[in-house]
C-alpha cells in the first residue's frame, strides 16, 4: 500500500507541475524557482508534513521536498539555534549537482550532433592506435 500512496502522491505532483508548465510560459530555471518556493510555502502552511507522511519517498524525491527541508532547517536554526539540518541538506544538494556535472563530463555525446562527430572519430582513432 505504501507503494501505491507513493506513486499517487508523485503522480499528483507531476500532474500539477505539468499543468503549471503547460499553461504558463516559464523556462526551466523559473519553473524550478517556483517549485522550490511552493515547497517552502506549503511546508510553512503545514501541508508538507502530512504529505510527507502520506507519500513518503514519492514526495521526498520531488524537487518540492528541498523547499520543505530548507524551511525545516531554518525553523530549527531560528528556534533552537542548531545548524544540524543544514549540515545534511546542503551537502546533499551539492552531491546531487556534482553527480550531474560528473555525468555530464563523462557522458557520451548525442549521435546527431554535427560538430561532435569529428571529435568522436578522433577519439575512436586514438583508441584504436592505443
Amino acid at each position: 500500500m505504501d507503494f501505491l500512496y507513493a506513486g499517487i502522491s508523485a503522480a499528483v505532483i507531476c500532474l500539477i507541475g505539468q499543468i503549471i508548465f503547460a499553461n504558463t510560459k516559464l523556462g526551466p530555471v523559473k519553473f524550478f524557482m517556483l517549485v522550490i518556493s511552493l515547497g517552502a510555502i506549503l511546508s510553512g502552511l503545514g501541508f508538507m508534513n502530512w504529505f510527507n507522511g502520506f507519500g513518503q519517498a514519492g514526495v521526498a524525491i520531488m524537487t518540492v521536498s528541498p523547499g520543505d527541508m530548507f524551511y525545516g532547517s531554518w525553523m530549527v536554526l531560528l528556534t533552537q539555534g542548531s545548524l544540524s539540518v543544514f549540515c545534511i541538506l546542503i551537502p546533499l544538494l551539492i552531491c546531487c549537482f556534482a553527480a550531474g556535472i560528473i555525468c555530464g563530463v563523462l557522458g557520451k555525446l548525442p549521435k546527431n550532433a554535427p560538430q561532435a562527430e569529428p571529435e568522436a572519430k578522433e577519439a575512436a582513432g586514438k583508441a584504436e592506435v592505443v
Binding site: 508523485a10 505532483i13 528541498p66 563530463v105
Partner: protein, 137 residues
Amino acid sequence: MNALSPQQIKGYIQATIFGFVCGIIGQAIMKIYIALGLPPGYAVPLTVFTFALGGAILMGIGIYGRCFAFGGAGAMLPMSGLAGAVTGGIIEARAQGKPMKTAIWEGAKGPASVFIPVGLLAGLAVAIATIVAGIGG
C-alpha cells in the same frame, strides 16, 4: 481557460504516468535502504541522492532525454530531472564543440545555480513569516 486540446491531455496523462512510476521506484529504493539497516533519517536523503545520480547517469547515456520528451514537467520535477538538466546542459555545450570548462559552466549556471539560493531565501522568508504569525514551530 480554453478547452483542453488532445495534445495537452496526452501531456498531462504522460506526466502523471511518469510521476507514478518515479514514486514507486523511489519508494522501492527507500525500502531497500531501510532493509539494509539504515535509519529513515539517512535512508530518505540517500534515496534523494540515488535518484539524482540515477537521473544524471541516464542522461549521460542518453536515455533521460527521451524521458523529458515523454514526461515533460513530470520528468523535470523529480530530483533526477534536476540532475539530468545539469548533465544535459553540459553534454549539449560539449556537443557544440565548446571547451570543457565553458561546458561545465554552462551546465551549472542553469537550474543548479538558482536552486540552493532560492531555496534558502524562500525557506527563510516562510520560516520568519510562520514565526511572526505564530503558526509553525
